[in-house]
Symmetry: C2
């Protein structure tokens, strides 16, 4: 994984496209080389499919941490949420009405980064306390929810017939 690979993958994420032409505009890497690089990344297993899903372990973001965040905010939770979202590595911020206020998932390069992450969280004014859990193994971690359903269930649940 060198600088060009990283720039390329970052561009795909930011632009939300795999178009070689667009990626060229963004990164200045020649179209021909973009093909060459993406093929290598695919062979190495960093890119998983045509949809550019990434293998976090191969990529170098294989460390996952789950945090329960306890806060004190006045008015709306949106402001706190916005601050939590900005912290590097945070991929999911769920506001709940349960025991804690937010459930956060972060993707990190290594264990050292966990410390930095906690510090970033504690630095947010409204955050009272965080309870972090280190993920030993991401047994399942798919960005494609439809995969987890059978076609029959999906047809039943998602198709709008007159019943609702």
């Amino acid at each position: 994984m060198d600088e060009r690979d990283v720039r390329l993958l970052k561009a795909i994420s930011d632009l939300g496209t795999g178009s070689p032409e667009r990626l060229h505009e963004e990164t200045d890497i020649p179209v021909s080389t973009i093909h060459y690089r993406l093929n290598n990344l695919r062979e190495r297993g960093v890119i998983e499919n045509d949809l550019y899903d990434l293998d976090l372990d191969e990529l170098g973001l294989g460390v996952t941490v789950v945090l329960e965040v306890y806060t004190t905010y006045s008015g709306s939770y949106r402001g706190v949420a916005a601050e939590l979202e900005e912290i590097e590595g945070v991929t999911q911020v769920f506001f709940t009405m349960g025991e804690y206020d937010f459930m956060v998932v972060a993707r990190l390069p290594n264990s050292d980064a966990v410390e930095r992450l906690i510090t970033d969280f504690e630095a947010v004014e409204e955050v009272d306390r965080t309870n972090s859990t280190f993920v030993t193994s991401r047994t399942k971690d798919t960005p494609r929810p439809l995969q987890t359903y059978s076609l029959d269930t999906l047809l039943e649940e998602l198709v709008d017939d007159g019943s609702e």
Copy 2:
């Protein structure tokens, strides 16, 4: 959202490709119609970008539940994990060494489905107890971890120089 839309989106998830030709083979929907449908889905905001990321609310899987799962298993946790992964709606299963054994995220069509989900969990032999938290708002929920990092941080963390 009719049956064809659902079949199409399901095929994209299962095949891991957006290739009209491949989708046609899988669904028997004419290539021309696949274009037509995908454009509509994009306009309606169900599909978010060229990478076919989905808007869960538009799609009809906007209900998210987080479960802490307490288990008693003999030997490896892999067996239990495999069972949890099979439950419909489950997108993430994290094994931890924390207070609970597994942290699970599920995507559901509506509140009714939550009840079914809990039942499915309790039905797993090794599961002692589950603590489920209903997500009020998915403030952030991205399948693209690189977006959350600045390019500088990524270059620092992901590029293999001689330092490790």
